[in-house]
């Protein structure tokens, strides 16, 4: 039987004209996903510097995270190389890793063109943080990555269903998007033409880093900027 096509494709726009690299999104991500000391972050602030002499130079700081590239037709590199099927592509655009199924071979970290997958080398110190009851703590010797807070998606979806909200109208907000003081992150269902993220995807400022190898045009996370210098910095420096 053919699987029913999802009406959702979750996407995120990162506005580089607004992002100041303050790092609050990465902090919120760490809190939401129970990232304990010893565990690499799912999202981190990356700073790219221009190579023109002072004072012509520029700087760009932005959250470097998984761009959720690929579609069911054109899968993401991590899902192609994963020997256990832990890395998988969902119908709704989210690329995830089933931590329980990960053997820590790190084929996905090598394959990722964005350097967005991180290997947990040491045992995270979970005694030092407040654990999110929605998240199972990550084990050492496995690979982790941003899942666009799919645990919030699951929870909110259940709550929306209980409240009788129609499926079409449902949406949720990942932790980083909630925390951004600049409102530089916009999240939503890109399949819904009226959603803000769909409008931004059609914006002239929208672009995806040109360093893509496999499926650049399909990344669910994309960038916005009107400044050519910022676009150049990201294309030159890349995410990795």
């Amino acid at each position: 039987m053919r699987k029913k096509k999802s009406i959702y494709k979750w996407a995120m726009a990162i506005d580089l004209d607004r992002c100041t690299g303050c790092g609050l999104c990465t902090a919120a991500c760490a809190v939401e996903n129970s990232i304990a000391p010893g565990c690499p972050p799912l999202s981190e602030i990356k700073t790219l510097e221009g190579n023109q002499p002072w004072p012509e130079t520029s700087v760009l700081s932005f959250p470097a995270m998984c761009l959720h590239c690929g579609t069911p037709e054109k899968p993401a590199p991590c899902t192609l190389v994963c020997p256990t099927g832990a890395a998988h592509q969902r119908e709704d655009g989210i690329t995830g890793i089933m931590n329980d199924h990960c053997t820590g071979c790190r084929a996905c970290t090598a394959a990722c063109p964005y350097g967005a997958l991180r290997y947990i080398k040491n045992r995270p110190d979970y005694r030092r943080i407040q654990l999110n009851p929605d998240i199972k703590p990550y084990a050492a010797g496995t690979v982790i990555k941003c899942s666009l807070c799919h645990h919030i998606l699951r929870r909110e979806k259940e709550q929306a269903a209980a409240a009788g909200i129609p499926e079409k109208e449902f949406t949720y907000t990942p932790a980083c998007v909630s925390a951004c003081p600049q409102k530089a992150l916009t999240f939503g269902n890109i399949n819904d033409p009226e959603s803000p993220v769909a409008e931004l995807a059609a914006d002239i400022r929208a672009f995806r880093p040109s360093k893509d190898i496999f499926s650049a045009e399909n990344t669910s996370v994309f960038f916005l900027t009107s400044k050519e210098s910022r676009r150049e910095l990201l294309n030159r420096g890349g995410m990795k």
């Binding site: 010893g38 700073t47 002072w54 004072p55 030092r128 998240i135």
Partner: protein, 609 residues
């Protein structure tokens, strides 16, 4: 070869047994069982819907009062979730398991060692009240940022009230009121070193700007280092280090000379600067100055903002006066907020001092409310010595550098405690600082002053103290000889953050969240000094040495400068690296603000051998 039925069955059976054992030992059944047990990747623990409850509440951490969502299970708070505009201070407060959290009164088992022993509350209260009686008006009350908690107690004891510098505090000391800007509706903002687009928890004024949705005007940033604000601003004016006061005064002078604006009385003699002098003083070209003047002239609601000493070096009195004069000339809506004349908020005259000057007071007892002046002050070293010799009481929720020198630690409720008690509908388990002090004062036979309703008024007033202005302008670092550098303090957004582990380890050097402390040096300067990327070096001024810092060669730093982060730092990191750039700043105090922190020109970079 004849194969009998028996042989065939034997071979087939052996193959089948081998295949089965091979499959069993390959681990495939285990993998299949694992996969069956975890059909999906969603690992959440399903709570009984009847027991789970979500509450919406308001953060009380600062004046922004953000909304937060509290998740309760069976009436107990299990998780806090930011709704919008969450800040790092809030996130950092949401960890009930922090090892550094103070849960009860403690006594120091050796000043400076960081070893504390639990103490009996009644006994410590007795000890503090007796020390307070002895020290009387020699008591210094150091209050946390943006807080007036200790003010009535300072008045009752006749001691000094010493607030941690914050936005508006220096303005109040220099101008007699806090500048009120309508930044949201400004069509042009000239920022003199204010990191409008950077850092965490910038305070309500800058929060208006932080959300760029709210601000559609033009931003011009004047500063020496290419920060995020410089990169995001519409224009970046790379002025020479510490010359913001010259820029503001020079612009005012040009506008007056062009008869665009009338100079205020008092300023006419002071504002005597030509465009050439302004260019020479700030390092900007004549064209850029002219362009800037034109932009200010044509703007309808311009605002000039200056940095305040919360995380980096404070603005000098000269800069505050010049900026205020410029704002008064340019913007008819610019006001200073102050209190109406009368007996004052507490009915008595308050003796006030700055943390940088606190070490010089003849103090017998220090009472510190959730502040870290040893780390946050340019005169931290002197203050540390003073604290070692004095009786120190610190009311805090986490151990900071200053607390290492406290004789007695009293617990303060953390933001988490407050939010939990608010959500669970119960009283706070930990007393508030004023409750501790009320008990102490009651025992000491003193009564804290009562707050009277201080009526706020708004005034437009020129403050020009010509002598102080001229003296401070003459102290601005001039050209240096040889290989000496000028220190550029960068404000950073690091908080005492429980998630500092993962965030700091992987964070960028730019935000000061790298694994060590970084000094940003221009590649040309680095080459001259024989420095390579990643080198370890110390910075040395006449005040002392600090380091080690890891060298990052970048074009973002101006030639001849060494830029380092100052500001909040987790205590472990601070003690581990023992580097604080504030401690090599010039310690001469500003005569009006009482704050130290002049840029030291002529610092040396000493390579770690």
């Amino acid at each position: 070869m004849n194969i009998t039925r028996k042989d065939f069955l034997k071979a087939a059976g052996g193959t089948a047994a081998g295949a089965v054992s091979g499959i069993i030992f390959s681990g495939l059944p285990g993998q299949l069982l694992k996969r069956l047990s975890g059909l999906t990747e969603e690992h959440g623990i399903k709570a009984d819907p009847g027991l789970e409850k979500f509450l919406s509440t308001q953060c009380t951490g600062c004046t922004a009062q953000c909304r937060i969502k509290v998740r309760l299970l069976d009436g107990k708070v299990i998780h806090f979730e930011p709704e919008n505009n969450s800040c790092a201070e809030l996130l950092s407060s949401l960890n009930p398991f922090s090892e550094k959290t103070v849960s009860g009164p403690m006594k120091n088992a050796g000043k400076g060692t960081g070893k504390f022993e639990p103490a009996d509350p009644a006994e410590v209260l007795k000890e503090i009240s007796s020390a307070l009686r002895k020290s009387g008006n020699r008591t210094v009350f150091i209050d946390r940022k943006n807080s007036e908690t200790l003010k009535p107690f300072a008045l009752a004891a006749g001691g000094f009230w010493c607030p941690i510098p914050s936005a508006g505090l220096e303005e109040e000391k220099v101008l007699g009121g806090r500048a009120v800007y309508d930044l949201k509706n400004a069509d042009l903002i000239l920022s003199l070193g204010v990191q409008v687009y950077g850092g965490w928890n910038p305070g309500p004024d800058r929060q208006q700007l932080l959300c760029r949705e709210n601000f559609s005007g033009r931003l011009i940033y004047a500063g020496n280092f290419c920060t995020e604000t410089a990169a995001l601003a519409d224009e970046w004016l790379p002025v020479a280090p510490g010359t913001e006061a010259i820029l503001a005064a020079g612009l005012a002078s040009i506008l007056v000379k062009k008869h665009v604006l009338p100079a205020a009385p008092g300023w006419i003699k002071v504002l005597d600067m030509s465009a050439d002098q302004l260019c020479a003083g700030t390092g900007l070209s004549a064209d850029r100055i002219e362009e800037l003047v034109r932009a200010l002239e044509s703007a309808e609601r311009p605002a000039v903002i200056t940095r305040t000493g919360d995380t980096a070096c404070p603005a000098s009195s000269a800069e505050i006066m010049a900026v205020s004069a410029l704002n008064l000339m340019l913007n008819k809506d610019y006001r200073l907020e102050t209190e109406a004349a009368g007996p004052g908020k507490y009915g008595k005259k308050l003796r006030e001092t700055a943390p940088d000057s606190a070490a010089g007071e003849r103090a017998g007892t220090f009472i510190i409310n959730q502040a870290d002046p040893v780390f946050m002050s340019c005169c931290g070293k002197e203050l540390k010595e003073k604290l070692k010799q004095s009786f120190v009481v610190s009311i805090t929720d986490t151990i900071k550098e200053t607390d290492l020198y406290a004789d007695i630690i009293l617990p303060a409720p953390s933001l988490q405690d407050r939010l939990m008690s608010q959500a669970e509908g119960r009283p706070d388990l930990t007393p508030e600082p004023q409750e501790w002090l009320s008990k102490i004062f009651h025992r000491a036979g003193m009564m804290p002053g009562k707050k009277s309703s201080g009526k706020k008024i708004f005034i437009r007033k020129h403050i020009c103290k010509a002598e102080i202005f001229r003296e401070q302008i003459s102290r601005i670092p001039a050209e240096k000889a040889g290989e000496a550098l000028t220190l550029i303090p960068l404000s950073s957004g690091i908080f005492d953050f429980p998630w500092a582990g993962p965030v700091l380890t992987a964070g960028s050097a730019d935000s000061g969240t790298g694994p060590g402390l970084t000094v940003f040096i221009n590649p040309v300067t680095g080459e001259k000094a024989g420095l390579m990327e990643g080198d370890s070096l110390y910075l040395e001024s006449k005040e002392g040495q600090t380091g080690p810092f890891s060298v990052h060669l970048t074009n973002r730093a101006a030639p001849g400068t060494a830029a380092v982060h100052t500001g909040y730092m987790p205590v472990e990191k601070n003690l581990l690296y023992a580097s604080n750039p504030l401690h090599i700043m010039n310690r001469e105090k500003d005569s009006l603000t009482g704050m130290a922190g002049w840029l030291p020109a002529g610092i040396k970079a000493v390579k770690k051998s």
